[in-house]
Symmetry: C2
Subunit: 221 residues, 2 copies
């Protein structure tokens, strides 16, 4: 039932290489400038992500409690992220929430924007859950994991998602001013980088936007 | 003596809008795609960074212990960053070091790459010094501050520098594979973002590169 979860207009839209600047175009431009990452730039497209390993049902049962429903309900995970986001305004932070989901579909970490609370420029929701999840798993490589966030990540957070080697990014509202997973850049799917992330955008977009619009309306008064 | 510090080939090169993709070109392309940050994209170039405020010598002496040499010696700061970088391989980390310098030219924080040590994908040297400095000043806005780092920042770190509103980025070696302050992107000087950073590149480039080349040579054996 993947078609119902991903790819429908109601519950988010999966896309590949949606960079507004066509990738071929970028690569040609970059290749024109000598010394600009030539090896990657002129190389072939990144290899397709390998499919899941075939596991027997018994082995799957031992490894994962959620093997009966390997298709994670991203809508439900976004609701968790929204619940996190709604806690941010209490300490003056922009309501953005994030959840990190492991390959078995379990929520490994969840947090919200704490830039104002912690007075730390790096304390965005995405950064906090990536760090927390890495601490919990004991590994900085979060392969197979999914980052669910209410707002399109900024360049810092999109860059961190690539650095953490996550598999999938699910986001709600687009950020036309600083978004780096579609709007201004598409860092998670830049063919020149050494890791590429599947993106599902527009998940519960309206609910995510309303939280933000209300916050800025109240703070502009 | 600014000409001796910044802008010479020996000690780093100051540049403005050095994105390999010409900014006008990027803006035109982006404008062609509807809804892609139109307000910022079609807007005017960012305003020039205002010059230093004129201060009497007595007032300057009260505010800053280094008023006699307001021109910070970036070469010396890069040597501090290099000393940090050289500590990283002891715990299996890539030798990248960073120093955060306050507007008075004092080193506020210094650290090196700790991704492997902390098993945290966000524990790059730049991220650590930005967080440390914000904790010390008690403010996430690090206006007027300078980030000195031995390697061109990746998208995460360049994005964090923009998010922290620093004034200047000084880096040593270029990173042709993931660099986001010249090589693949120029995030700190993207006219569509709400903050722009002065860049000085190539500071003690050879020393910074040698550390990295030696590290990878030893680790490939």
């Amino acid at each position: 039932m993947a078609g119902n979860r991903i790819g429908t207009s109601d519950e988010g839209q999966a896309h590949t290489l949606p960079n507004p600047r066509q990738p071929g175009q970028v690569r040609e431009e970059a290749a024109l400038n000598e010394g600009i990452g030539c090896r990657k730039v002129t190389g072939p497209e990144p290899p397709a992500v390998p499919g899941p390993k075939i596991r027997t049902r018994r082995r799957a049962a031992r490894q994962s409690p959620s093997y009966r429903s390997p298709m994670t309900n991203w809508k439900q995970k976004m609701e968790e992220a929204l619940a996190e986001a709604s806690q941010a305004p209490a300490h003056g932070d922009v309501p953005v929430g994030a959840v990190l989901v492991d390959p078995q579909g379990r929520t490994l970490a969840s947090d919200h924007n704490r830039r104002e609370e912690a007075q730390d420029p790096t304390a965005h929701a995405e950064m906090l859950v990536l760090s927390q999840a890495a601490r919990q798993t004991g590994r900085w490589r979060l392969e197979g994991h999914t980052l669910v966030v209410t707002l399109e990540p900024c360049p810092m957070c999109a860059g961190a998602a690539v650095a953490a080697r996550i598999k999938r990014l699910v986001y709600g509202a687009a950020d036309l001013k600083t978004g780096a997973a579609w709007s201004l850049y598409n860092l998670p799917q830049d063919p020149r980088l050494n890791h590429h992330i599947e993106i599902v955008s527009g998940m519960l977009e309206e609910e995510c936007s309303i939280l933000l619009v209300d916050f800025f309306k109240n703070n502009l008064r």
